[in-house]
Symmetry: C2
Subunit: 366 residues, 2 copies
């Protein structure tokens, strides 16, 4: 499947794969798609450098990109400690109580929390970019608004296309005005941060709002049939994230979490503020239920909620406390029912796409 | 656009149009689609008979159907008065207070509330069916679970296909087990009662769940491009409701409401229990906000909520109290920006469908 954008990027299939795992990103690019490595977890530049080295060596010359989480508005002189100080004690106690209720063990002394919110802060994202621009990345995506103007300019100077996620036509238009090159229209059914407009409605709205800029459709896509539907809605490509979580190349660090993903149905996710303070779709768990319960203290705004729960999430994941164990994932989790290689996922995407085109042509009498 | 199901029904386009207005239903059937008249508002059999007479005369021999709201489980010997008695006084006071706050006038003495919940009760639906089975309807749809077994048998005896709405693969499977002929998979983005799984995910899940039974895709469909996408997802037809509300044939009885629909964006709806007690997508208004506000009394379960608000909704509509004025409608309302004839909507559906097929074939290299 070829669009103007896929031709421009020199890829075989207009399938963009977002993933936190270098092995998955490399396999996506090798399979003829476009692998995009999520940078948010790399707070240490050296670790990002190590993984980009690995990625570059394993894409067999195929293009790849990077996804950062960078706020468009700069907050001057605010440290993680300043933000920590804004968290009410009642909320900290609620975290302790909820963990205690489920017998979640403490981390060992000196053991770092694996999941830090600091990746969400602008300086950290800038450090990531300083590393990434030394590599021949072809795409820089920002998951949180348009990137700052100087970052867009720097990317363009190096011939890097800039993409930004949007949950509404208005967001998409703002990105276009900021000078980005590609809008990722993220529907309600998507994993992670998402608005409440579903892909069937959002995709064509975003396409019309920013034409002739290309739009990638995200949310609810895990089969070749869904790729065909999303491209039919006017997208120049699809952006898939959830479907890679259960590939053999993914390094989830938790067999229990993989089992939960494989067992979950499309109705087993929830759009909750529990993880970051903004609505993000994830597996519904007793942890999200606790935060969404009206009798609880409720969630804090971003970035406070993320800081508040970072260590708790690490403990839940490390000790695989099943009732609380979750991850961002979209409604497509209902079709993620077996571990497959990235190549096997691609084989189904491309063969399912062809079958769907055959069928719709029969319906159209062609 | 032709599918097995459209051929079976002898219609030109696999487009099913649900509407409470006989003039719209007739125009849909005349345009080559399949008009389905919503019966819920006909509490008097004579009125339904009058409108079915009119509909039959104006479809030019093309097929049409009826949509009822019939609970699968029978509640014996419960009258409307019994149900009324279950409504707490605090909730009645909240209705009075909210109306008073916005200066909503009373109905005139003896003036009947135009919108009655009684259409939701089984006996009323059975009276509707006694009328409808005297007409050559080709489809009977039920918006609330599978119809009772004897109703399915009676329909089949008369060669009438039975459809039922489903919001999940599990619901779809239950309908299939009950012996219905067509599943309408109603996505999260749809107007009226809907679950939380979006069409992009729900449609293929429902298709797989009930194959070889045909599935109609509902939710988020208002353009030919969206028709093409929905059929690509495996549906044998599309089921459109919202898009007809702003056609010239629609009799909304409220210019203010039509203006609100034409002005609304895709983000201006909400899935709320305010209207019936079950989640139904509708325009977001100060009325839905009042019911969804955690500091209010909250909504009552179906059928209590519908009975509680019936008169209030009539008053709001009659006096066009704009901040409170709403109607069930899907996220597709964002693309309903001008009054058009049903035929003009069809012309766009069919030409947009062909354009979308052209484009996806180019992407597929065909």
């Amino acid at each position: 499947m070829q669009t103007e954008l896929s031709k421009k990027l020199g890829i075989e299939h207009a399938v963009f794969g977002f993933t936190p795992f270098p092995a998955v990103a490399a396999a996506i690019s090798r399979a003829g798609g476009f692998g995009v490595l999520g940078a948010v977890r790399y707070t240490a530049p050296d670790e990002l450098k190590r993984d980009l080295d690995w990625l570059h060596e394993h894409t067999e010359g195929q293009p790849y990109g990077l996804d950062v989480v960078m706020p468009a508005k700069k907050v001057e002189g605010v440290s993680e400690a300043d933000v920590e100080a804004m968290i009410p004690e009642g909320h900290r106690q609620f975290v302790r109580d909820t963990l205690a209720k489920h017998g979640v063990p403490e981390l060992a002394e000196g053991e770092a929390s694996g999941w830090r919110i600091t990746g969400w802060m602008e300086q950290v994202a800038r450090n990531q970019l300083d590393v990434a621009f030394d590599y021949p990345i072809k795409l820089l995506a920002n998951a949180l608004g348009s990137p700052p103007a100087d970052v867009i300019a720097r990317a363009h100077d190096q011939g890097v296309l800039v993409a930004a996620l949007a949950g509404s036509a208005r967001h998409a238009r703002k990105h276009a005005e900021a000078g980005i090159d590609i809008v990722v229209a993220q529907g309600y059914e998507a994993g992670g941060h998402t608005g409440d407009i579903a892909s069937m409605v959002l995709t064509p709205e975003a396409v019309e709002a920013v034409a002739p800029l290309p739009v990638l459709a995200a949310g609810g896509i895990g089969s070749g049939q869904q790729v065909a539907a999303a491209l039919t809605l006017g997208a120049q490509g699809v952006w898939l994230g959830s479907v890679w979580l259960t590939t053999t190349e993914a390094d989830m660090h938790s067999p229990a979490l993989t089992r939960k993903l494989l067992a979950a149905g499309s109705g087993d996710t929830v759009r909750s503020r529990a993880l970051t303070g903004k609505p993000a779709r994830q597996l519904r768990t007793e942890w999200t239920d606790a935060w969404d319960d009206p009798s609880g203290p409720g969630t804090l705004p971003m970035p406070l909620q993320g800081l508040l729960v970072a260590e708790a999430v690490s403990r839940i994941q490390k000790y695989e406390v099943e009732p609380l164990l979750g991850t961002p994932v979209g409604q497509i989790v209902g079709r993620m029912n077996e571990e497959r290689s990235v190549q096997a996922v691609f084989d189904e995407l491309t063969s399912g796409f062809e079958k769907a085109i055959d069928r719709i042509n029969r319906i159209a009498g062609r």
